[in-house]
């Protein structure tokens, strides 16, 4: 059975309003979308413009305004839904525990962890956080961000994350004074993503690296406000996900930047 022919441009423009209002039935909506993607870019842009004008037009709508109480109610409802959804994902933590992680520190005990919704939300935020950073580097970086997110959600990496992001890490993200700093790429060809979490209260930190090339040595260092640098910890990568806790570094909490450098002291990643 052959697919129906795409709609003519005139039809696309005529039905733009119905499509924007969601008034096309399922079959027609699908045909409309397919036809849209077949249309010239100028026509697509015109349809986007028409539909946005229709969608934002308030002239035929009532003058009522939402109450402040509704705002609180909606935001609470969404927060509850997010929390509930994240709790349902917790059983995934038991998947993929076969893989070893590279770390100078002994891995946390394996086994299913009682991971809270907040943990998974934070893990997801990490992924999106680094995706946001990458997105500023354009479409290629965006594709890379999608790859990293997929990498992170694969069973084996999920198992790695489960071990890395143990209750210790949970404490970081749960504390109100925990600060997250995302790294951006500073060297051509670098595709790693990283974030460092700082707890000024006890001078500890946690470094998380995703998409690391294997078999490479790096050093995490802090750049102080007088321009001097202090090496914090060296690490070698044998898997694409690296994470470890750093203790007793109260002085470097005041660093203006954090950097990850390679064996040649080339700055590969840097925080803003």
């Amino acid at each position: 059975m052959t697919s129906p022919k795409p709609m003519r441009i005139e039809e696309l423009l005529e039905l733009a309003a119905l499509d924007a209002y969601g008034l096309l039935d399922e079959y027609e909506a699908e045909l409309y979308t397919r036809s849209f993607h077949h249309a010239p870019v100028a026509v697509q842009d015109e349809i986007l413009r028409i539909q946005a004008a229709i969608a934002s037009d308030q002239s035929a709508l009532p003058a009522d305004l939402p109450s402040p109480e509704l705002r609180r109610r909606v935001l609470d409802a969404v927060a509850r839904a997010i929390e509930e959804d994240a709790r349902e994902l917790a059983p995934l933590a038991s998947i993929g525990q076969r893989f070893a992680i590279n770390s100078a520190h002994p891995p946390a005990a394996r086994g299913p962890l009682a991971l809270s919704g907040q943990f998974w939300r934070a893990a997801a935020l990490i992924m999106v956080g680094v995706s946001i950073v990458l997105a500023w580097f354009g479409a290629e970086a965006r594709q890379r961000a999608d790859e990293i997110s997929r990498l992170a959600l694969q069973n084996n990496t999920l198992g790695q994350l489960e071990v890395l992001l143990d209750p210790t890490f949970k404490q970081y993200i749960a504390k109100p004074n925990c600060r997250q700093h995302l790294f951006t790429n500073r060297a051509a060809g670098t595709t790693m993503l990283a974030a460092v979490y700082l707890d000024p209260a006890d001078g500890s930190a946690f470094l998380l690296v995703l998409g690391a090339p294997t078999g490479v040595n790096y050093t995490l260092r802090a750049v102080m406000d007088d321009g001097t640098t202090e090496s914090i910890e060296s690490f070698a990568t044998s898997t694409s996900v690296v994470g470890f806790r750093i203790e007793n570094k109260a002085r470097i909490m005041t660093a203006v930047h954090w950097e990850i450098v390679d064996a040649d002291q080339r700055v590969v990643l840097r925080t803003a």
Partner: protein, 183 residues
């Protein structure tokens, strides 16, 4: 703007509550107004708005800026939800004449708030001024939530005719509303 909107929705999809708040701030008025237009009472509209933003979070990862601007996407999700609610509602007469169409009142006492009543009265007047087919199709598809196929069957009219009537009718309503606002 479209890259920023894509980033915003990615953050919403990841459960970033700040991003959800940003989304709400941008679209609360628009979503609320269309909910008030289509729901019988203020309480129903409030419930609908809550459900709509939860749905926006659930579907945020499907947002594609190449296919629609964010306002279009948000309003599409909103209208689809409102139409679903209308369809599930037991209060939907098989036939309605425009002069008896109670709109948000639906047989209940009209909501207090003279502005709301006036705007709805205006909308009904504009709909009443449309050619008969356009008026009927708009009432049934746009305000009562029947599918276009159902309307086509109810009116024993070809589907293409129904679609054209709806499209032209909505365009005329917008033109008249814009002219009234500008005038």
């Amino acid at each position: 703007m479209s890259q920023q909107d894509w980033l915003l929705m990615r953050r919403v999809a990841a459960g970033d509550e700040q991003a959800v708040e940003e989304l709400y701030n941008r679209f609360e008025t628009l979503v609320y107004k269309v909910a008030r237009q289509l729901m019988p009472t203020k309480a129903d509209a409030d419930d609908a708005v809550q459900d709509i933003f939860v749905r926006l979070w659930r579907t945020a990862d499907r947002y594609d800026p190449r296919r629609a601007k964010l306002v279009t996407w948000v309003m599409l999700i909103a209208r689809r939800h409102l139409i679903d609610r209308l369809r599930r509602s037991a209060v939907r007469p098989a036939e309605m004449a425009t002069d008896t169409f109670a709109g948000p009142g639906r047989g209940e006492p009209p909501e207090s708030g003279s502005q709301h009543d006036e705007r709805n009265a205006q909308l009904h007047r504009r709909i009443a001024e449309l050619p008969e087919l356009q008026r009927t199709v708009i009432e049934r598809a746009y305000l009562q939530g029947f599918t276009l196929r159902q309307v086509s069957e109810q009116l024993d009219a070809p589907l293409g005719t129904v679609k054209s009537a709806l499209s032209r009718g909505l365009m005329r309503l917008r033109e008249r509303a814009s002219a009234d606002w500008a005038g």
